[in-house]
Amino acid sequence: MTVFVPPPDLQDRRTWMGLLARARPERLAELVPDEPDSGPVILRQPEIGTVMVQGRIGAAGSPFNLGEMTVTRCSLRLESGAVGHAHVQGRSKDHARRAALVDALMQTGRAAQLRRDVLEPLLRDEADRRRARAEKAAATKVEFFTLVRGEDR
């Protein structure tokens, strides 16, 4: 039986791909244990490389090259035909493979389960991490006062 799965909304897919890329590799490994059954067809073996990161002159002007970052990419295809891609920061091949796998599975009937078991926990982790950092930074907010100097009196 073929279950009709609508093509994933583009923005939705961008969101989960970003989330998977930013995930800690160990955390993703916990949430996506290796499945012993027929593995997906690897279209592009996990490969380590770099991406040149660009900045903008004066934050808003023309781009310039800031420096590279390490990135690992991987592409695979499920038996169902769904193709998953991943470009993830760092040099973890397992991270890239798992991210590509989840990307592919999110285009199948397992999407709802993965959203609950993988994406939502990752989202919570990230939100907690960011909030904790932001709250500590916020506690260092200062109010500077300009003092009246003698000659102003």
Binding site: N65, L66, A138
Partner: protein, 362 residues
């Protein structure tokens, strides 16, 4: 000229074994892990990432361990490793306006909207050695927390923009030049200069920036805004036909506001210097923005006072510490043939000189 020599294999092997032993130090002291360096010597890691021009904290920490803490050697290791990797492409320009800031200060606007956030800074510490750190296993102070400002904080210099008091950068999307791909050509556009400076040696850029403050190409800089935090990195994926986030990097950004009395074409206004560097690297980012501004003299119609920081060739050709180290240190390698020729020449000159003296005496 360096001439290849043969021999010495065993001595070299033994020297490397001795190096490995010295690197380890006293085996009665626990070995340092790469994770410890990454977490506890983070500013060294940041510097190696910035000057190695590769954002990867684990690799930078490994390089620091291998280099025994010699940061220029570590930068060299990172640069060498980088050349072994394929490049998948370029990111979209990062948007520092959306930075999740852990620090954000302004020296020009006391009441900056979004507030001044000190973050994890050495500023206002007393610079007294803290001997408590020499004792292990002590309790950490718990940092306080407060409600953060929701949403991104705007760039402070944008407030000057509203009055037209400061120059605006023209947005563009031209493909920037890349000095890691094509040899640097002078005169260099600003984009190329910024790439060279952000990966340049911190000490060199700092000294140049300091020289402008002391009067060698003065630009009267104020720190309009300094922010440190993480930004998302987005890249267009050809297979997909759209851009996705591939990760996030920590950056330090400095925008200086500089006096400008105006020129034939421009009214008096503030001008800007810009610094953007990998990691929490505040000294470097401030220095970068001062040097960037000093190098803009021609475009702004200012006088060239002959100051080193205004000399594009001097700055750009001497900023890279891997190039500098390579050329400087190669003179310690065998130059026997060269030196033999020099010795012959000196002997010959001396002999000629002695002969002339003799003739004159006779």
């Amino acid at each position: 000229m360096y001439v290849a020599v043969k021999g010495g294999e065993r001595a070299i092997e033994n020297a490397h074994a001795l190096l490995a032993e010295d690197r380890r130090g006293d085996t009665g002291v626990a070995e340092l892990s790469v994770a410890q360096i990454r977490e506890q010597l983070r500013l060294a890691v940041n510097r190696v990432m910035a000057e190695g021009s590769l954002f990867d904290p684990d690799l930078a920490a490994l390089a620091i361990k291998q280099a025994r803490g010699d940061l220029i050697e570590a930068v060299f290791l990172i640069r060498a490793y980088r050349t072994t990797l394929p490049r998948f492409g370029s990111s979209r320009p990062v948007d520092t306006g959306t930075m999740a800031c852990s620090r954000r200060i302004s020296a020009t606007f006391k009441d900056a909207p979004g507030g001044q956030v000190l973050g994890p800074t050495f500023d206002y510490t007393h610079r007294l050695l803290d001997f408590r750190l020499a004792a292990e296993g002590q309790a950490l102070p718990r940092p306080a927390t407060a409600d953060p400002v929701a949403g991104p904080v705007p760039h402070i210099t944008s407030f000057l923009n509203r009055e037209g008091l400061i120059e605006t950068d023209r947005p563009g999307d031209d493909l920037p030049p890349d000095l890691t791909r094509e040899p640097m050509e002078l005169p260099a556009p600003r984009a190329l200069r910024l790439q060279a400076i952000t990966r340049g040696d911190e000490g060199f850029i700092l000294s140049l920036a300091y020289s402008t403050q002391r009067g060698y190409g003065r630009t009267h800089a104020f720190v309009g805004e300094l922010r440190i935090g993480t930004v998302a990195v987005e890249m267009d994926i050809p297979e997909l036909g759209f851009a996705v986030e591939i990760g996030e990097v920590e950056l330090t950004e400095c925008e200086t506001v500089n006096q400008f009395t105006g020129s034939k074409t421009e009214p008096p206004q503030f001008t800007r210097g810009y610094g953007l560097v990998f990691g929490q690297t505040e000294r470097k980012a401030i220095a970068m923005s001062l040097v960037d501004r000093a190098l803009r003299w021609k475009e702004l119609g200012e006088d060239n006072t002959g100051a080193p920081a205004q000399d594009e060739e001097f700055v750009l050709m001497h900023a890279d510490n891997v190039q500098a180290t390579g050329f400087l240190e190669h003179i310690k390698l065998p130059h026997y043939v060269d030196f033999q020729a020099e010795t012959e020449l000196v002997r010959k000159l001396r002999a000629e000189g002695a002969a002339r003296c003799q003739e004159a005496a006779e």
